[in-house]
């Protein structure tokens, strides 16, 4: 754990932590604006009681319009290419837009503006552009929201040079990383796990910034390294707890930043424990999980005492039915089994 997290004095939910980061950054910098579908709600209405009718589909941006008004907290039509692209254009010309792409599974209706415009402009223009854009988006299964609203697919963004990708697991990380993302001069995809919104944790007051690109060891251990992302960090910690009861000391590395990747922290842990389990809720092929396994295979091979284990969902869409979805999501049990398997 970092010293800063330990200093925390109060508890917020992940949702509240994100809301707080948005509020503080908007106060700090008048060029920060928010855009997305129903981020306030009822923008057509002059009836006061309708103001902030939603504050985001799951309430994350609630209250901000009262402080910053409808110009800066801006509802959009359902036209993701249009408003995500407008975010890119606004970022290129002097604003710092935070655009909400409601679910990451909607990337398909606006991907070009993200991967061909935002991500490539600086390079194509020989360094003569800055795109300080943040795209907030929900990831994750477990909401019984079926195949088109449950993807994690951040790997797709990680694949594209020019983007940064962040996926916090705790309220404190959510606050600190979102502040960093907003202040960053590159486009950042900020992935919020919808099943974490109600999870609480200590969050520092006031301005709090966690540099992008730093993994965090969420639990130290010496027998096996478990690298995890977003909600899977909680499953990894639960698994580590059970492993501890079985006399196995697992180290849990929370990647936090998927691009850039903190290779050093991951490699140091692998070199220490000699065993690697990767837990990722995203689709298994061409994923951050395979990146981590590749790090081990290319740069820590001689330290590995056992085959690497991946704990991921299957190569299937996310199913709707609770029994299927529960079997889909990597469970603490599967993590325990994988960790034990690396110990022979």
């Amino acid at each position: 754990m970092t010293a800063m997290v330990e200093e925390a004095v109060r508890t917020l939910s992940y949702r509240e932590a994100i809301n707080e980061a948005l509020r503080l950054e908007m106060r700090r910098d008048p060029t920060v604006i928010l855009m997305g579908e129903d981020v306030t709600g009822a923008s057509h209405s002059e009836d006061e009681s309708h103001l902030d009718a939603w504050g985001g589909v799951l309430g994350v941006t609630k209250g901000l319009v009262h402080e910053f008004g409808r110009q800066r907290v801006r509802d959009t039509p359902i036209t993701e290419s249009g408003f995500v692209g407008a975010g890119v254009g606004a970022a290129a010309t002097g604003l710092r837009p935070v655009v909400e792409l409601m679910f990451i599974g909607f990337m398909g209706v606006c991907l070009d503006q993200i991967v061909n415009q935002a991500a490539k402009m600086r390079y194509m223009f020989g360094g003569k552009a800055r795109i300080p854009l943040v795209i907030r988006t929900m990831i994750g299964a477990g909401f019984r929201a079926a195949a088109q609203h449950s993807d994690s697919i951040y790997s797709t963004f990680v694949h594209f040079p020019g983007l940064k990708v962040v996926a916090p697991a705790t309220p404190a990380d959510a606050k600190g990383l979102l502040a960093a993302a907003i202040r960053d001069d590159d486009p950042v995809i900020f992935c919020e796990h919808k099943l974490l919104y109600d999870v609480k944790g200590p969050v520092p007051e006031g301005e709090y910034v966690i540099p992008l690109g730093q993994a965090e060891i969420k639990r130290e251990g010496g027998d096996v390294t478990i690298v995890a992302i977003s909600r899977m960090v909680l499953h990894a910690l639960a698994a580590a707890e059970r492993l501890a009861q079985q006399g196995i000391s697992a180290e849990v590395v929370d990647l936090r930043s998927l691009s850039p990747l903190d290779e050093t922290t991951v490699l140091e842990s692998i070199r220490k424990t000699g065993r690697l389990v990767v837990v990722d809720e995203d689709n298994p092929r061409c994923s951050v999980a395979t990146d981590i396994a590749t790090l081990a295979a290319t740069q820590a091979l001689e330290f590995l005492n056992a085959p690497v284990k991946l704990v991921t969902p299957p190569h299937t869409p996310v199913p709707f039915s609770p029994t299927l979805e529960d079997a889909y999501i990597p469970s603490p049990e599967r993590i325990v089994a994988a960790a034990r398997a690396t110990l022979g």
């Binding site: 579908e37 709600g41 309708h50 939603w54 039509p77 019984r144 609203h149 039915s321 599967r334």
Partner: protein
């Protein structure tokens, strides 16, 4: 437009079934019995039924996240629908799709769709199949006022226009996309007029009036069947419940809701049909009772059905794919269910 007694009875029954179905889900959701996002169609029945009244089994429809009404109007099995929404193995999609993805391709129902604007391109494809196979099948593409702003919708209009596809575009303008009114989101504020720019006939109609929908739909579908190309219908309607279940609906007023409820499509159908002596109160009451019983039965069927076997997780991804590759990088290949 002429309408037979049988068709009238059918239409009223379909509308009533939709209403009962949705009301039941509303109650069941509130009771915590249904997981996930559930978008109810109650209030908009006249649109789906007025359109589908002209369709054959082998005609196609594309639908939206708010798809139950379209399914019922197109003849998808009620029990399978209910079971699907409950995530049961006996569901229309074996529990894999849920409310937002109910489909029955054999019935020409090409799927509810979780992506706003997902349907129009698909509808063009179904239209293209009919055109190239030389059949007279028609495709009806349902979508919302919110979806009317999505680029894919405009692309669909354009394709159908230039290729003269047998597609009828039906914008269900229920006044809201989540909380957002087309007054805010639609530049020009006239959805039907925008479609005219694509060179197709386009009208706005009272979507709460079954007879108005039936008439406009009849013309549009006949035109498509004759190979004369697409038509656009903006059906002005209203949804009674929130955007999805759980929505506290803080973005509209009680008066507005009451205004629309007082023009309820089922009620008006009854008024018109009985006033004109087309149907009797008794006949309609009998349908109401039958509908209620059908929904009870569907509900019971869903409740009694088993959950899917976890092994089903790995089926139906592909027609053909190596089993081990469905859970890659595992040793043994498929760790949990094999």
């Amino acid at each position: 437009m002429e309408i037979s007694r049988d068709k009238l009875l059918w239409a009223y029954e379909r509308m009533r079934l939709i209403r009962e179905f949705e009301d039941r889900l509303h109650t069941d959701f509130a009771a915590g019995k249904i997981p996930g996002f559930v978008h109810l169609y109650a209030g908009e029945e006249a649109v789906a039924v007025g359109l589908c009244a002209h369709l054959r089994d082998n005609d196609f429809i594309t639908s939206t996240h708010r798809g139950h009404g379209h399914c019922i109007a197109k003849g998808v099995d009620l029990r399978e629908m209910m079971a699907e929404i409950y995530g049961k193995a006996t569901g229309a999609c074996k529990g894999k799709g849920g409310s937002m993805h109910i489909a029955d391709v054999n019935k020409g129902m090409l799927g509810a769709n979780g992506i706003v604007g997902g349907g129009p391109p698909l509808a063009c494809g179904a239209g293209l199949t009919a055109k190239l196979k030389g059949t007279d099948q028609v495709t009806v593409c349902f979508f919302g006022d919110g979806a009317s702003n999505q680029g894919t919708t405009f692309e669909g209009l354009n394709l159908a226009g230039i290729w003269k596809l047998p597609v009828v575009f039906v914008c269900e303008n229920n006044g809201y996309a989540e909380t957002t009114s087309p007054q805010y989101s639609v530049a020009g504020q006239d959805i039907a007029a925008r479609a005219r720019g694509f060179g197709m006939p386009s009208i706005a109609i009272d979507g709460l009036d079954f007879f108005a929908v039936y008439e406009a739909a009849g013309e549009a579908i006949a035109r498509a069947r004759r190979g004369e190309g697409p038509t656009f219908i903006e059906a002005q309607t209203y949804r009674y419940y929130g955007h999805f279940e759980g929505d506290s609906v803080r973005y509209r007023n009680r008066e507005e809701e009451e205004h629309y409820r007082s023009r309820d499509c089922l009620y008006r159908f009854r008024q018109t049909a009985t006033a004109q002596g087309l149907l009797t109160e008794a006949e309609l009451d009998a349908i109401d009772a039958r509908a209620r019983a059908a929904i009870n039965e569907a509900s019971q069927f869903a409740a009694d059905s088993p959950m899917p076997d976890p092994a089903e997780l790995l089926t139906d991804v592909y027609v053909d794919y190596p089993m081990a590759a469905l859970w890659p990088f595992q040793e043994p290949a498929v760790p949990v269910y094999r």
